[in-house]
């Protein structure tokens, strides 16, 4: 009985998913950077659903919607990572966490509490790195940077994520090349 209900639920989710996906942004090529930013700021995946009216706030999705949208968001984010990769500072944080956890494992394996010093150092560094990451350039500063560098006006609602990050890349390389020739 339980398995039948589960199967029915899965069929229902698939049906809903099929209908839901028609109303959603499915790629970084069509997702406007405005909603990309909103999702990251609010953790609300409802912004993936297309709407004719531009809204700054949306209610949280239902549980079934959340399953579908989470899957969709994962695929979009992976697409983004495949195209642009992680930022260097994020990778640094990732590496630092790995280092800290390695020390923790070694402390347990070797039963050596002196490794706690290294763990503490890693924690201090991680805290500083995260703080620095949070205090980084915000979206509008980035937008201003692109606009000043590329001499274009960016409409958040019309510019896709792929376009926006391509602009960043291009503006950075342009600036780097310009600086290099000087």
């Amino acid at each position: 009985m339980k398995s039948i209900i589960t199967k029915l639920l899965l069929i229902y989710i698939k049906l809903v998913e099929k209908n839901q996906l028609k109303k959603c942004y499915t790629s970084i090529d069509d997702l406007p950077v405005f909603y990309w930013r909103k999702i990251q700021e609010t953790n609300n995946l409802s912004f993936l659903i297309k709407s004719e009216i531009i809204s700054l706030n949306k209610k949280q999705p239902s549980k079934i919607q959340l399953i579908i949208l989470s899957k969709l968001w994962k695929s979009i984010f992976d697409e983004y990572l495949k195209m642009f990769g992680f930022a260097e500072n994020f990778i640094e944080i990732f590496r630092k966490i790995n280092e800290r956890e390695t020390w923790r494992c070694r402390m347990i394996i070797e039963n050596n509490k002196s490794h706690q010093n290294f763990i503490n150092m890693c924690d201090i560094e991680l805290e500083a790195m995260k703080k620095s990451n949070n205090e980084g350039i915000n979206f509008y500063e980035t937008k201003a940077f692109i606009e000043s560098e590329m001499h274009i006006q960016i409409d958040e609602l019309k510019t896709s994520v792929a376009q926006f990050y391509s602009y960043i890349k291009l503006a950075q390389s342009k600036q780097a090349n310009g600086r290099g020739t000087n």
């Binding site: 590496r95 070694r106 347990i108």
Partner: protein
């Protein structure tokens, strides 16, 4: 020795506290199991933190899960240690409880033993046998001692049954569940934090190992001391006994030889005497042996049981042998053996006894060897002890160095952390400063945008004004046509005046009366003229009406444009930007006034038209009778009024009077002037250019440009524009300009430009902090 107080080392005896030992075993097993378990888990989890950079969200999720797993493992590890601490406490409590009751019993025994000794000593000094009190005290002490022995034996401690040290020591580590158990138990009993000991890793482990060795050596030393004392005593006894026995044997041999060589009787007497002497010596030896036995017993009591047993064994053997010899002699006597045989047998017995003593001597030599071995062991142990002691000193030094290094590391770490924090603060401050610069730059851009927008608005206004002017010029052209019509009317008016003068009296002076026919002709002519004048008047008023309507329309359009402009300027005002809201409001007020004036003018035109119609109707009616003086006056007043109404267009002033008329050779035309108005020549007007009267007045008032210099300014509007552009240029030139760049090393380069100077600042990469464009 048996009454020695309980020493600290005894608390680590294996079975002295069975429950504690059991707990220690449990603890050790639990710790080992948990450590092994958490270690295996941590080892398996370690692979998840291989230094691979993330490629997608799965990698991030995998890391998050692995971190959670690590936290769980760490938690288990901590729980294991907490459990260990709990068991430690339990053991400590048990040991303390046991130690307390045992100590009381031991103390009681020591007191009883001391009391018994004192009483016995008093009896001996007085040379009398032990009193009842002494015996009772001895029994009490013995009873207590037996109780302690029972306890010790039940717990595997054979200290009171001297001789089992080796096995006791051998069971030490085993009973306590290995090294960890010993350390934990020892640490617990001594109040040492074993966790802290374990933390010092190998050094601590070495120290613990050494502690064990040291403890072992101390026990060996005790054993060696006891065994050495016992062996010495036994040896002394054996040597004395041997000497006595050898002497006896020699005497017996000599006696035998003498008896055999001289005569049987003498031999018999001598043999008996010698035998008696030998027996005596034997008894003496036995006494000595008994003494040795006693000493051995005493030694046994202090801890040399094995050797004492050996001596006792020898004594028993000698006793047995003596008994056998006695029995044999008796048997021989009973069997009727001769005295000689008996004596010979006795001598043989003495020899046999001698052999026995010899055997004892060999045994004692073996004991000496054993002692020597033990001594060597002791020496070796001492050397080891010295070596270990040196190691301890060395290790202590290393430990001190390690502590110093650790302190230095801590200091270095704290310095590094401080430097890192300072660096971080510096970078953060730099970023904040840069953010400020960016803000200022953005503000500058914004201000420049505003100025540009204002200029654009001004240009739009100018364009609108030009269009308006063009429309006005269009209106002026129309007005010129109207003026031409007016001129025609004026000419006709003059002609009518002349006619009128002729009719009224100008020609009356001729005195010539007109005939009916002439009058009829005149009447017809007058009617024709009036009709023509009426038509002209209608055309003229229609033109005037059309012109006013067009002017009204233009003014309405102007008001609409001003309204739009007011809205725009209002928005700028609300946004706190530069605006011309007040000016626009004034413009609107003026336009409304103009509108009211035009309305008034239209009404007057209408009124004039009605009057003109009335006048012409009146003239038509009176055409047959001629125009009298009243008609003349009426005509002058009304017509003048009607024309004046049509020609009052310059009361509001004008920038250009248009193409002009044909009143004179210079294109003159009719116009009505009012008090205190200014009239410029066409040349002066051309020099001012296309600027409204209001702007002209405003410019003159605002910029205070002297009239003499005005001739050099071609276009005041342009001068205002130029002035604003200069201002803009200065603003842009003096504005801070900030550029943020990255070089090929991905280092940030800030370029700050101001007043033509450029300052570059390069921010070197920190090994920890890097700033890139944000992505999430």
């Amino acid at each position: 020795m048996a009454e020695e107080p309980i020493r600290g080392e005894q608390i680590i005896q294996p079975d002295w506290a069975a429950n504690a030992t059991k707990s220690a075993n449990e603890l050790d097993a639990a710790i080992q199991k948990l450590i092994a378990h958490t270690g295996v888990l941590a080892k398996s989890n370690l692979a998840n933190f291989a230094n691979n950079d993330p490629k997608n969200t799965d990698d991030i999720n995998a890391q998050t899960k692995a971190v959670e797993q690590n936290t769980k493992i760490e938690k288990q590890n901590i729980e294991a240690k907490i459990l260990a601490a709990q068991v430690n406490k339990k053991i400590k409590d048990e040991i303390q409880a046991t130690l307390s009751s045992y100590s009381r019993l031991s103390l009681e025994y020591r007191k009883a033993a001391q009391a018994a000794k004192d009483l016995a000593a008093a009896d001996i000094l007085q040379g009398k046998a032990f009193s009842e009190a002494t015996k009772e005290a001895i029994n009490k002490a013995a009873g207590l001692n037996n109780q302690l022995k029972t306890i010790d034996q039940s717990m595997g401690n054979y200290q009171r049954n001297v001789g089992n040290y080796h096995s006791a020591v051998g069971n030490l580590a085993k009973g306590l569940g290995g090294l960890t158990g010993v350390v934990t138990l020892l640490g617990t009993a001594l109040g040492i934090n074993t966790d802290a000991l374990i933390t010092l890793k190998d050094t601590t482990r070495e120290l613990i190992k050494f502690s064990k060795d040291l403890s072992h050596i101390k026990h060996l030393e005790t054993i060696v001391e006891v065994e050495s004392t016992v062996a010495h005593e036994a040896n002394t006894i054996a040597v004395v006994s041997e000497t006595v026995a050898v002497e006896n044997a020699t005497i017996a041999q000599k006696a035998w030889n003498y008896v055999m060589s001289i005569n049987p009787i003498a031999l018999l007497i001598t043999s008996v005497a010698l035998f008696a002497a030998g027996i005596y010596q034997l008894v003496t030896a036995e006494t000595e042996a008994e003494k040795a036995q006693r000493k051995l017993n005493e030694a046994q009591q202090v801890g040399a049981l094995n050797e004492a047993e050996n001596v006792s064994y020898v004594k028993e053997k000698i006793e047995d042998l003596t008994a056998i010899q006695s029995l044999r002699i008796r048997q021989m006597k009973a069997d009727g053996a001769s005295e000689t045989e008996i004596y010979q047998q006795k001598v043989k017995d003495i020899v046999e006894l001698q052999d026995k003593y010899h055997e004892l001597r060999l045994t004692l030599e073996a004991n000496r060897d054993a002692e020597s071995l033990v001594m060597n062991q002791f020496k070796k142990g001492s050397e080891e002890y010295t070596s270990h002691q040196k190691n301890v000193i060395s290790m202590n030094r290393e430990l001190e160095l390690l502590k110093i290094t650790q302190s230095e590391t801590v200091v270095t770490t704290s310095e590094l952390t401080k430097s890192f924090k300072d660096l971080n603060k510096e970078v953060t401050d730099s970023w904040k400063e840069m953010d400020k610069w960016v803000d200022e730059a953005l503000k500058g851009v914004k201000t420049a945008d505003e100025i540009k927008k204002s200029i654009a608005d001004s240009l739009e206004d100018l364009k609108a004004w030009n269009e308006e002017q063009a429309k006005r010029r269009e209106g002026i052209v129309i007005y010129d046509e109207e003026a031409k019509g007016v001129r025609k009317l004026s000419t006709e008016y003059d002609r009518l005046n002349k006619t009128k003068a002729g009719l009224i009296g100008g020609e009356s002076g001729s005195g010539k009366a007109l005939t009916d026919k002439e009058l009829e002709n005149d009447k017809k002519k007058n009617e024709e003229k009036i009709n023509a004048a009426k038509k002209l008047s209608e055309q003229l008023f229609k033109i005037a009406e059309d012109r006013i309507k067009r002017e009204q329309e233009l003014n309405k359009q102007n008001i609409t444009e001003i309204d739009k402009g007011i809205d725009q300027q209002l928005q700028l005002l609300i946004a706190g930007q530069k605006n011309t809201y007040d000016f626009m409001l004034r413009q609107k007020a003026k336009a409304l006034e103009e509108q009211a004036a035009l309305d008034k003018k239209a009404r007057k035109e209408k009124e004039a038209q009605q009057i003109a119609e009335l006048f012409l109707e009146f003239m038509k009616v009176n055409a047959k009778d001629g125009f009298g003086a009243a008609a003349k006056s009426l005509a002058e007043t009304l017509l003048a009024k009607g024309l004046a109404g049509g020609l009052s267009g310059y009361y509001e002033g004008t920038e250009d009077t248009g193409a002009g008329g044909g009143l004179d050779t210079k294109g003159g035309m009719l116009a009505v002037l009012h008090p205190h108005e200014r009239v410029l020549t066409a040349k002066q007007n051309a020099a001012i250019g296309a600027i409204s009267n209001d702007d002209l007045v405003k410019s003159v008032m605002h910029y205070k440009i002297p009239t003499e210099k005005n001739s050099t300014v071609v276009d005041l509007q342009n001068s205002i524009l130029i002035s604003e552009l200069k201002e803009l240029n200065n603003t842009i030139k003096n504005k801070k300009e900030l550029e943020v760049n990255w070089n090929r090393l991905n280092e940030i380069i800030l370029t700050n430009k101001q007043n033509g100077y450029s300052v570059e600042t390069t921010y070197k990469n920190s090994p920890i902090i890097k700033r890139n464009a944000p992505f999430n």
